[in-house]
Symmetry: C2
Subunit: 349 residues, 2 copies
Amino acid sequence: MFENKERTSIDQLGEFGLIKHLISAITLETDNTHLGAGDDAAVIKSNGQDVFVSTDTLVENVHFDMMYTPLKHLGFKTVVANISDICAMNVIPGQLTLSLAFSSKYTLEAIEEFYAGVLLACKRYKIDLVGGDICTIPTGLVITGTAMGWGDAEKAVKRSGASAGDLLCVTGDLGGAYMGLQLLEREKRVFLENKEMKPDLGSHDYIVGRQLRPEARIDVIRQLAELNVVPTSMMDISDGLSSEIFHLSEASKVDFSVFEEKLPIDQDTFNMAVEFGIDPTTAALNGGEDYELLFTVSQADYEKIKNHPDITVIGHAKESGMKNELVSKQGNNYALQAQGWQHKGNSDA
Amino acid sequence: MFENKERTSIDQLGEFGLIKHLISAITLETDNTHLGAGDDAAVIKSNGQDVFVSTDTLVENVHFDMMYTPLKHLGFKTVVANISDICAMNVIPGQLTLSLAFSSKYTLEAIEEFYAGVLLACKRYKIDLVGGDICTIPTGLVITGTAMGWGDAEKAVKRSGASAGDLLCVTGDLGGAYMGLQLLEREKRVFLENKEMKPDLGSHDYIVGRQLRPEARIDVIRQLAELNVVPTSMMDISDGLSSEIFHLSEASKVDFSVFEEKLPIDQDTFNMAVEFGIDPTTAALNGGEDYELLFTVSQADYEKIKNHPDITVIGHAKESGMKNELVSKQGNNYALQAQGWQHKGNSDA
């Protein structure tokens, strides 16, 4: 009855392009919105503490595959994916709302399993699940969470604060979630070809865990506060290091040099990459879903972080226009690609 | 590979039962969560103003039908459905996050239309769209919003505050959105049978508008404050008057008497109900999506509200155990049914 005549496919813009396009039309209506859409979280000023808020959606067969994703882990990961965006503002998350839209293939026991994982993560990270919604859809599972945290709006660590000379740091190690996904996908193919075969995840608990049940780095946010280090810019690594570096670069109007030899890669990730014929550096640069933090600190803070076991300096910021680049182990410079992490059926596909 | 052995269909609990069941497992982890899941909105205490937060999900073919829903109206209605829950706490909403999961049938122009409606509502109600997420799904459109508002946690008007003797009030009129839906569904059937037929919505702008582009009653929240009236309990009418009365009744541990002759029904709603062979009272009691407010006030406040053109006293609260009942125009008492509003394919189906 009502039809839309023009037809531009979303492909032409991609997810980031579409979001940027839509955000450009927003004008702020209230006095207390301090930072609107476009960073990891929005910031709303109060006359006391300010609230940081962020929304994240996970979709079956785009962000997860029920063939190998235990629902309890999925519940846990949902919380992690959401609160990680609050951590990325250098703020401790406190509350979460959760909306679940699921098809009739999900039984009560399945939904209970999912919520058991959600509540386990809430206990682990001291988060209150304060609300949500539940409804049915024709097919699949769509999960939307909105996380909140409390802090000082003026101290929010945005994507835009890096200056030339700042050190580029990551927490933990990279590429593990991606290699875990490759392994799970391989075992799924084997299983689909022969349903008598049991999946063989071998001794790869680490990378499988990185994919199915990642951790949010609230611990690092607390430790940075204890070390009296305020990052100049920060975001979490959900789409892949390379992609996130381009986000920091664009927001801060600086470029970055990253040193291949500094990239933190776990031995299990490295071995599995070799087994799959993937360059471990590529897995670290482009694999997503590690939920580690990427941030910059001023050089003056180097002494405070250099001995932190979970923080690695991987490069530095430089004047804009020099291009984001990877310095290889051989000392050659390569232009970084912003390709990031392509979900199985994401909006660019 | 991983399978869930037990299989209890969600039907056995229904949406409200499932939510109640899942909420029962929650224990609060932070000190500042003042009111968790279970009311229209959660309340989180700050050391200044407190934040009220609520999440709502709309699903294609469950909550709306793209055959007759212009995307701009859908965007507007999405904002209304979300902020209405904040109004229902007697608080002015201020911010919104929005997550959109859509299939490839939605073009850029379609998404832009939707956002144009969202931003129109944001301007009208002075709401900031502060964040969100966008991703693709295999089929349909799933929209999740999270609305926030600021107020004093101690002054939150919950569902649980009604006492025997309080007056039961509604804003606006009831059943219009439901009759608008019946009309749109009829014209859809006509159109599907003969695609040459133009939909004939006649002069029924009012009820069609009630369905496709409802309003949030922020105006009444402001007016109640001006009148110095603080309701003793409140919620919004999204599932239908009867269903919401049972929610207030259960939370407040009182029962209600509702007078049929007092139910505010617009002439267009009345006429269309008669045309469809539906009792207009049934449309008012069980039709959903009017997004009006249902609240109780103490009798002492009657003088302040009695001349308000948009507030109607429809009944009163009484001691629990006397049952929620409708007093008919003929003076007979009927037990109210909590059936509420069944979305076309909702989780009870």
